[in-house]
């Protein structure tokens, strides 16, 4: 027995048994439990989305079929797509991020455990809200991509689209919060010795995905806000008669939508990069290159979105630019595949179920990637987009890519998470059922697309000749279903009576195998040392020269480890959000109630550990406070939010069909004064921070209040301006200028208002003597938010008011 594994055999007798029972799960902040919650919930939604798919396939199995009607079918494919993307694949990824990332970097939890729980509960609320639409017979039915103007009230008068846009915004909030959490965790909680390049590739892919999330979601959030305002408040963002450009929705959606597909695939790539080396008993070939290519894919993923719009008439220059960018992205993707092949080459390959799925991914993702390259050529894409050819492509990359990767991960990490082994024979049968079923279901769809079958049609005549291939595809789909059923059987048997799993059943390479299966609540008795990439492997087998590291000192008493305390405030905040969403569809009073519950929950959340000295200093291994890093990540996200809001304002400038127009109504002198006021408020803010850091309570109180007051003055200016505009005939509904101006400056004003609330809270704390030098970081964070709001106004002032 090696030194490393001996450490794992120490009994954890000193650790209190982990709490069980429903309430302990409702209030859990343990990353492992949250991971399980995500995984189980995602699987439930996955089954729902799968049933929706099977009904779709049954309807299409024969020409002229009448199993479901047109509207039902349209709702089915909308719900199937939305569910699989947002409620299944993404949260599956989150399940793995949650469970594995802290273990893989030798941390005991994430940077913000309660925020982690909040992300999960908001996700659950969002998923339930979306599916509640089924219960009242108004499921979304305009596609998972919801193109305007079909989604505007004149063409979709029911509640369907409202359910869709509200739940997407809720889900987006969940994702962004989680992303900030994981960015801080990965960057700031690595143990000594684990440089970024020594992190497992799965952790790297997770990090890239989180950056994609914080930068991509704001774009669709803005697009959805515009749709929401059009539907609820009569604005004209997607109103052609008022001068709107329907490309706007598509741009905003795909600026999110394309990075989203990398959000969906990179975790699977990360999993494959972990699974292949373990079961080939060789390191990942070219690990740094695999990492860099993941980063490149993420970065370039922001530059290709309009390849979803080749048929929309953007013109040859735009078409060519996006075609080239899209082709370029296939290079780092191909590089990964070659590195995986080289990992297997010369290895000693054990055909476990996890390996089967990982290898299956290589084969099917290659096909999906190649059909993607076909789409990258606009002329060819004009025959393929919006047909079953692209349906084939997207399922090859999302099932053959994402799902296979996730199933590989599920089989690989099952022993670690559950402490039991799955049945390898059942697992291999599952794989073959899913693999064959999948190819039978989707390969013929390439042909169907080439034969002219468009997407999103509920039926087709027999004369098209599409019937037999659709029938074949349906058979394959049921094959997939059978495979998944088998997986459920395997999982159930394992949980009930499967053989117990040792800490390291696969002779793994990464740190999660260095603790028991399942890990104790505190993850590790001692934080493991890091000697390089594949650090655990080196401990067991030695490095290239066969040297093994020195033995570890005995583990300290785990009783000394403090774990994050459970909390019920995350679920309260999530419930508040859910209430507000329900209120948006029913009664304003419920919106207010939901907002109040949310705010109350948020305040209690924020103050819960106010008196805990351990919370005062949250410095991470980079020397940066967790909260400071988090706020900067959040501000990065806000750059995208305001960037797209401002770009929309400018894109729509001069397109209003009726007046008033900007030059007729904007008051430059007054706005210059309010700009000056906001700039000075930033000065007061830094003075306040300096005072708190010095311990000068009197000055702190003065400057904090001063900043808040200056903020209120700015809001006063804005209120005056808005009222004056309305009197002059410029309302939110009047024209395109009214829509873009009020939404842009209104959202900015909303940010100011929240900032004022934040500052006044700090001021009240100070007045009651509860703000000391130890709390300086809290003031610094508030200051960063405040200055950012100021900086956004600098941009708005110039581009909206000054530029003619």
């Amino acid at each position: 027995m090696t030194v490393a594994t001996r450490a794992l055999e120490l009994p954890h007798t000193h650790v209190a048994a982990e709490a069980t029972g429903l309430w302990s799960w409702v209030t859990t902040v343990d990353h492992k439990r949250i991971g399980i919650l995500y995984g189980v919930t995602a699987f439930g939604f996955f089954l729902l989305g799968g049933i929706e798919a099977l009904i779709i396939r049954l309807q299409l199995a024969r020409p002229g079929n009448t199993l479901v009607g047109a509207d039902t079918f349209n709702a089915l494919f909308t719900m199937h797509g939305t569910t699989m993307v947002f409620l299944a694949i993404m949260p599956f990824g989150s399940a793995f991020f949650n469970y594995l990332v802290p273990l893989m970097i030798g941390a005991r939890d994430v940077a913000f455990p309660r925020l982690n729980a909040l992300s999960y509960w908001i996700f659950l609320i969002g998923g339930l809200f979306l599916n509640a639409s089924l219960l009242i017979g108004a499921p979304p039915d305009t596609g998972w991509f919801g193109y305007a103007n079909l989604t505007t009230r004149p063409f979709s008068p029911g509640l369907n689209v409202d359910f869709w846009l509200l739940s997407l915004q809720i889900l987006g909030a969940s994702s962004i919060i989680a992303a900030i959490n994981f960015i801080v965790t990965i960057v700031n909680m690595r143990p000594p010795g684990m440089t970024l390049m020594r992190m497992p590739v799965f952790v790297w892919m997770t990090l890239v995905v989180q950056f994609l999330v914080i930068l991509a979601f704001p774009a669709v959030t803005v697009g959805l806000i515009f749709l929401m305002f059009d539907r609820f408040f009569g604005t004209h963002f997607y109103d052609v008669a008022a001068g709107a450009d329907l490309h706007l929705w598509q741009h905003l959606f795909w600026i999110f939508g394309h990075p989203e597909v990398y959000i969906l695939i990179l975790p699977a790539f990360g999993i494959v990069s972990e699974v292949l080396p373990v079961f080939a008993r060789k390191p990942l070939f070219g690990a740094p290159v695999v990492i860099y290519s993941g980063v490149l894919i993420g970065f370039f993923g922001f530059g290709v979105w309009s390849h979803h719009m080749f048929a929309t008439g953007m013109g040859p220059v735009a078409d060519s630019a996006f075609a080239i960018m899209t082709m370029l992205i296939s290079i780092p993707t191909g590089v990964k595949i070659f590195n995986w092949l080289a990992t297997l080459w010369g290895g000693s390959i054990r055909g476990t179920t996890a390996l089967h799925f990982a290898v299956g991914l290589i084969a099917t993702f290659t096909i999906g990637g190649l059909s993607g390259i076909m789409h990258s050529s606009p002329p060819v894409d004009l025959q393929q987009t919006d047909t079953y050819f692209v349906v084939a492509h997207l399922h090859y990359v999302l099932i053959g890519g994402s799902l296979f990767g996730l199933l590989a991960g599920a089989h690989y990490w099952w022993p670690k998470i559950t402490g039991r082994l799955l049945d390898e024979r059942l697992g291999r049968l599952t794989f073959w059922l899913v693999f064959v079923g999948f190819n039978v279901a989707f390969f013929p769809q390439h042909y169907l697309g080439a034969m002219g079958m468009p997407r999103r049609i509920y039926t087709y005549p027999a004369s098209t000749g599409w019937g037999p291939w659709n029938l074949l595809s349906t058979v394959g789909a049921f094959g997939i279903g059978l495979g998944i059923l088998l997986f459920i059987v395997d999982a159930a048997r394992s949980l009930r009576s499967g053989p117990r799993a040792p800490a390291d059943p696969w002779d793994g390479r990464t740190l999660e195998w260095r603790t028991s299966s399942p890990p104790p609540p505190h993850d590790f008795d001692t934080i493991p040392p890091v000697y390089g990439r594949d650090t655990f492997w080196r401990e067991k087998h030695g490095d290239a020269q066969g040297r093994k590291p020195a033995p570890l000192p005995p583990a300290p008493d785990p009783h000394g480890i403090h774990l994050p305390a459970p909390s019920h405030w995350p679920i309260v905040v999530a419930v508040g959000a859910g209430l507000a969403a329900v209120g948006a569809l029913t009664h304003l009073a419920l919106v207010l109630l939901g907002a109040l519950v949310l705010l109350y929950g948020a305040f209690r959340f924020a103050f819960e550990h106010r008196r805990d000295p351990a919370h005062a200093d949250q410095t991470g291994t980079t020397g940066i406070d967790h909260r400071k890093m988090a706020i900067w990540a959040f501000l990065g996200s806000e750059c995208m939010l305001f960037g797209t809001l401002i770009a929309t304002y400018l894109a729509y400038k001069g397109r209003s069909v009726t007046g008033p127009h900007p030059h007729e109504i904007l008051n430059l002198p007054l706005t210059t004064l309010s700009t000056f006021d906001l700039l000075m408020s930033s000065l007061l803010m830094v003075l306040a921070l300096a005072a708190v850091q010095r311990g000068d309570r009197g000055q702190a109180r003065l400057w904090l209040l001063g900043t808040a007051v200056f903020g209120l003055i700015f809001l006063g200016f804005q209120a005056y301006e808005f009222t004056h505009f309305v009197h002059e005939g410029l309302t939110l509904q009047q024209n395109l200028f009214g829509s873009t101006f009020f939404v842009l400056t209104g959202f900015h004003g909303g940010h100011v208002a929240l900032g004022v609330l934040w500052l006044l809270t700090l001021w009240v704390l100070d007045v009651r003597g509860k703000l000391s030098t130890l709390d300086a970081m809290k003031v610094e964070i508030a200051g960063l938010y405040w200055h950012f709001v100021d900086v956004v106004w600098i941009v708005i002032f110039t581009l909206v008011y000054l530029v003619p």
């Binding site: 329907l246 084969a363 050529s377 004369s463």
Partner: protein, 336 residues
């Protein structure tokens, strides 16, 4: 047909062969995108063939290597640890450059075709205004001042430019054999320009989800010799037929007295613009945007209860009796 034509024919054969290989079936269905009948479609297929062959070769190589590796390097019992190779710089460079070169081969013809197929249409091109509506197509020919619906006629060998205009939501005009699709976007002015080169009747349908009956928005594009086209145009320009006796005459009277006139135009009788122009409805092979052949039974059924045939359709059931509907059908079918 010169060398470029031969190359095109070869590439078309190559693409068809490739697809057949994969599909085990023919490449020639009613809405196939692999049998071109216009310059636009041929340009596309040229690039399509290059990319398809490249994709097939790459896929075959990767899958073959994968299969071989899995067999050759299976774990053997009591095997020693394999050599822990971490990477190889030259290989990395090699398999970065190789895909880049393949992409170059794809990119160059792509960009050429993008620009060649999106240029200004030649002078003297036949202009057709295509209006996509939920869930039918209106076609008008400004030069001839006629408007029709769902069936589009073009003369072979003459450049055509379709100006795509939207009245309600986004649609997409797609007749695969004539070329790629182009979206119909309200507020924007997209266009498709091509020269059809083979007479025939070609089918297509809307390719952008546009609501309940998106699946029921079919197009028939008839390419015909110039004299046939001129004859068709002459009959389209002629005034509407006025049946003197029989059920058709009864139908005519009923039509003129019913709500029909509020939505439909029959030149000389009514001028509604919400539904398709019916002046020469009898000359069309299908109704309800290609859903059914235009027989007296089908037209009668449609008039009696349109939403039963086309879910969500804006035309309501007018509460007519079977006999009344049948006579209007007879009238409409007489409007040749």
């Amino acid at each position: 047909m010169g060398t470029s034509g031969r190359a095109r024919r070869l590439s078309r054969l190559g693409l068809a062969g490739a697809t057949s290989l994969l599909a085990g079936c023919g490449w020639n269905g009613p809405q196939t995108s692999l049998v071109p009948v216009s310059d636009f479609a041929r340009e596309i297929l040229h690039v399509y063939a290059i990319i398809t062959w490249a994709a097939i070769v790459i896929a075959a190589v990767v899958v073959a290597v994968l299969g071989w590796v899995l067999l050759r390097f299976r774990a053997r019992p009591d095997a020693a640890l394999p050599r822990q190779i971490r990477g190889h710089a030259l290989l990395e460079i090699g398999w970065t450059i190789a895909p880049a070169l393949v992409l170059l081969v794809i990119a160059v013809p792509t960009i050429h075709v993008v620009f060649r197929t999106q240029g200004a249409p030649p002078a003297g091109a036949l202009e057709v205004i295509v209006r996509g509506k939920q869930w039918w197509w209106e076609f008008s020919y400004p030069a001839y001042q006629i408007t029709t619906a769902n069936e589009l006629h073009l003369p072979v060998g003459r450049p055509a430019v379709l100006r795509l205009e939207g009245d309600d939501v986004i649609h997409s005009f797609w007749v695969p054999q004539l070329g790629g699709k182009r979206d119909v976007i309200p507020g924007r002015h997209n266009q498709l320009s091509f020269t059809p080169d083979t007479p025939g009747t070609y089918l297509g349908q809307c390719a952008e989800f546009c609501g309940t009956s998106h699946a029921n928005m079919l197009v028939r594009l008839i390419v015909e010799p110039t004299d046939t086209f001129e004859r068709w145009m002459a009959s389209e320009r002629a005034p509407a037929a006025q049946p003197q006796s029989g059920p058709a005459a009864d139908g005519a009277a009923l039509f003129a007295a019913s709500a029909c006139v509020g939505c439909h135009t029959v030149r000389g009788v009514s001028s509604g613009v919400i539904g398709p122009d019916l002046t020469h409805f009898g000359g069309r092979a299908t109704l309800a945007a290609g859903m059914l052949p235009s027989t007296v039974d089908n037209v009668t059924a449609w008039i009696l209860d349109p939403p039963r045939i086309k879910p969500g359709v804006k035309m309501p059931a007018l509460g007519l009796s079977e006999a009344q509907a049948r006579s209007i059908a007879a009238y409409l079918l007489s409007l040749k």
